[in-house]
């Protein structure tokens, strides 16, 4: 998906000394959104496949993306984003396994082999995102608690502003804003390929209000 320029970032005139740096950041941002974010699902799959310890997956995924960004910023944009990101993931898993004595090396054994298996699994391919995205979006939307769901529906499907939503629902703007932020997180995690059940348990931990049943 083509990254959409954020008007607010462009409207902020940076100091001349920062111009080159901020142009560089904008370039890496655009690359990251275009090339790396669509890999989240495949990356999560790869990490889950090679890392049997349940809890760390999202953290590992985040760490891979941070490293990818950092490296692209310092060493320039790589030609093959996918191979680049998966090489980072592989190194991170091996490092983590070495550092963490609890993990036996068997659990990452196949990672020590050359990338053969991985490369074959993850040849450059792109989901035609509209269909897949929409499926994930709808599933994520339906999994939201009622009030959060209604807020997202009004904002994204009906196209109302947050002010209009607060009038329509008879709640404060602060409440609408809170629901938007929660819906946004649930949707981001659904698009990243986190199981909806995970997203749901995460929501139940995070939501500030009790669900009425």
């Amino acid at each position: 998906m083509a990254p959409k320029a954020s008007p607010s970032i462009a409207s902020q005139p940076p100091a001349p000394a920062d111009l080159a740096a901020s142009a560089r950041l904008a370039e890496v941002d655009a690359w990251f959104v275009r090339e790396v974010l669509p890999l989240q699902g495949a990356l999560g799959q790869m990490i889950r496949h090679h890392w049997r310890h349940n809890d760390d997956h999202a953290d590992l995924c985040q760490e891979v993306m941070v490293r990818a960004y950092e490296s692209a910023l310092k060493q320039g944009l790589p030609d093959m984003a996918k191979a680049f990101v998966f090489a980072i993931a592989r190194n991170l898993l091996i490092d983590t396994a070495r550092r963490n004595k609890v993990v036996s090396f068997e659990s990452v054994n196949d990672l020590e082999d050359p990338l053969v298996g991985l490369v074959d699994h993850f040849t450059p391919e792109r989901k035609a995102q509209s269909n897949e995205d929409l499926k994930h979006l709808v599933v994520a939307l339906n999994a939201l608690p009622a009030r959060c769901r209604e807020t997202v529906v009004l904002r994204k499907i009906e196209g109302l502003s947050q002010q209009e939503i607060s009038q329509r629902m008879g709640v404060s703007e602060a409440t609408v804003e809170k629901q938007v932020s929660l819906g946004m997180r649930a949707i981001a995690n659904a698009l990243a390929g986190l199981e909806v059940t995970e997203a749901r348990s995460w929501l139940q931990r995070t939501l500030p209000f009790k669900r009425k049943t």
């Binding site: 998906m1 607010s8 960004y69 929409l134």
Partner: protein, 333 residues
């Protein structure tokens, strides 16, 4: 008792809060707030990554508007390709059809039967058969083994239904008569190009060698799906609810279309897949023992020489070959 909130989750909460504030304020988002945001983003790469991830997801959530009830959408068109369906062509004008001489194309080689005229009659190939068919407009269809198709040509449209199997199309450009291939509920629309369409169960594969085609999806559960544009080198794997796009080099595309020259070319594919491919062309079937089905093999093989392939497996890869009626069993020694 709630589990503790991790560092990642608290960063995510802050990024989402900032985005929600900006979403609420819109134009009223002040330069002061922007400066604070930039400072927060600059403090930690974790912040920046999380912000980009949430911002992108929230933008992509605009697609939810497509699920709105069928009335003019408030959020506009699907975000990259305008909805545009072909006008319904009048059926009346089936008039000036030209007969094309049945020609033998020398370049087809020994594998292809003489070009035959394809009309409204369905045409079909059996196992091991490949046929090239000239269409009235000068376009050419090559049907792979076990395939079936029929056509309907009018003065303003050219339509082919691929009912089963695989076909390669070499389409004569004609802007006034769009060339449409129907594969199940999907349609491939072209003006002039070379591409193949293959049906496997409910999956349709579209592979473009030259030019450009547009794939129009059937509505999924009553909802319109955005068409896909495929350029040379692209392969789309279509299923009722999803589509997967891959880009290949010209060399890979040529390999994938080698069946037209009577060869099958593989690079590092499992034996089971290669056997399935051979089995499309023969009455005699290769049966692969599960223990050897993952064995990786590459090379270019003569489609018709099944025995040669089995012998190669026996001698080159030390597999056992056992003949049982119409079946060739490959297994470990």
């Amino acid at each position: 008792m709630n589990p503790p909130i991790s560092k990642r989750e608290s960063i995510e909460a802050e990024a989402a809060r900032l985005l929600a504030v900006r979403d609420r304020l819109g134009q009223a988002w002040s330069s002061e707030q922007e400066a604070q945001l930039q400072a927060w983003l600059a403090r930690d790469l974790d912040h920046r990554i999380t912000w980009l991830r949430l911002q992108d997801a929230w933008l992509r959530a605009d697609q939810l508007a497509q699920t709105a009830a069928p009335r003019p959408s408030l959020r506009g068109q699907p975000f990259w390709w305008p909805e545009r369906w072909l006008p319904r062509w009048p059926v009346a004008a089936v008039a000036s059809m030209l007969l094309v001489l049945v020609l033998v194309s020398l370049e087809q080689g020994r594998y292809n039967a003489p070009l035959a005229q394809l009309d409204a009659q369905p045409i079909a190939t059996k196992a091991g058969e490949r046929r090239s068919i000239a269409l009235q407009d000068g376009s050419k269809v090559t049907l792979n083994a076990r395939s079936r198709a029929h056509t309907e040509f009018a003065s303003d449209s050219r339509q082919v239904w691929l009912d089963e199997g695989e076909a390669f199309f070499d389409v004569q450009p004609d802007p006034k008569r769009p060339f449409v291939v129907h594969a199940g509920k999907d349609r491939v629309v072209v003006l002039g190009t070379r591409f193949s369409v293959r049906r496997d169960g409910d999956t349709t594969l579209v592979l473009v060698q030259e030019g450009k085609v547009r794939v129009e999806r059937a509505p999924d559960a009553g909802r319109q799906q955005a068409p896909l544009m495929l350029e040379a080198g692209a392969e789309a794997s279509l299923q009722p609810e999803s589509a997967l796009l891959q880009q290949y080099t010209p060399e890979q595309i040529t390999q994938a279309l080698d069946w037209r020259q009577g060869r099958l070319t593989f690079k590092d594919r499992p034996l089971s897949e290669i056997a399935a491919e051979f089995n499309r062309y023969h009455q005699r079937q290769l049966i692969v023992d599960p223990a050897t089905s993952d064995m990786r093999i590459g090379g270019s093989f003569d489609i018709d020489n099944l025995d040669g392939f089995a012998r190669l497996m026996q001698e080159g890869f030390d597999l056992s070959v056992r003949v049982e009626g119409n079946e060739l069993h490959l297994g470990q020694r």
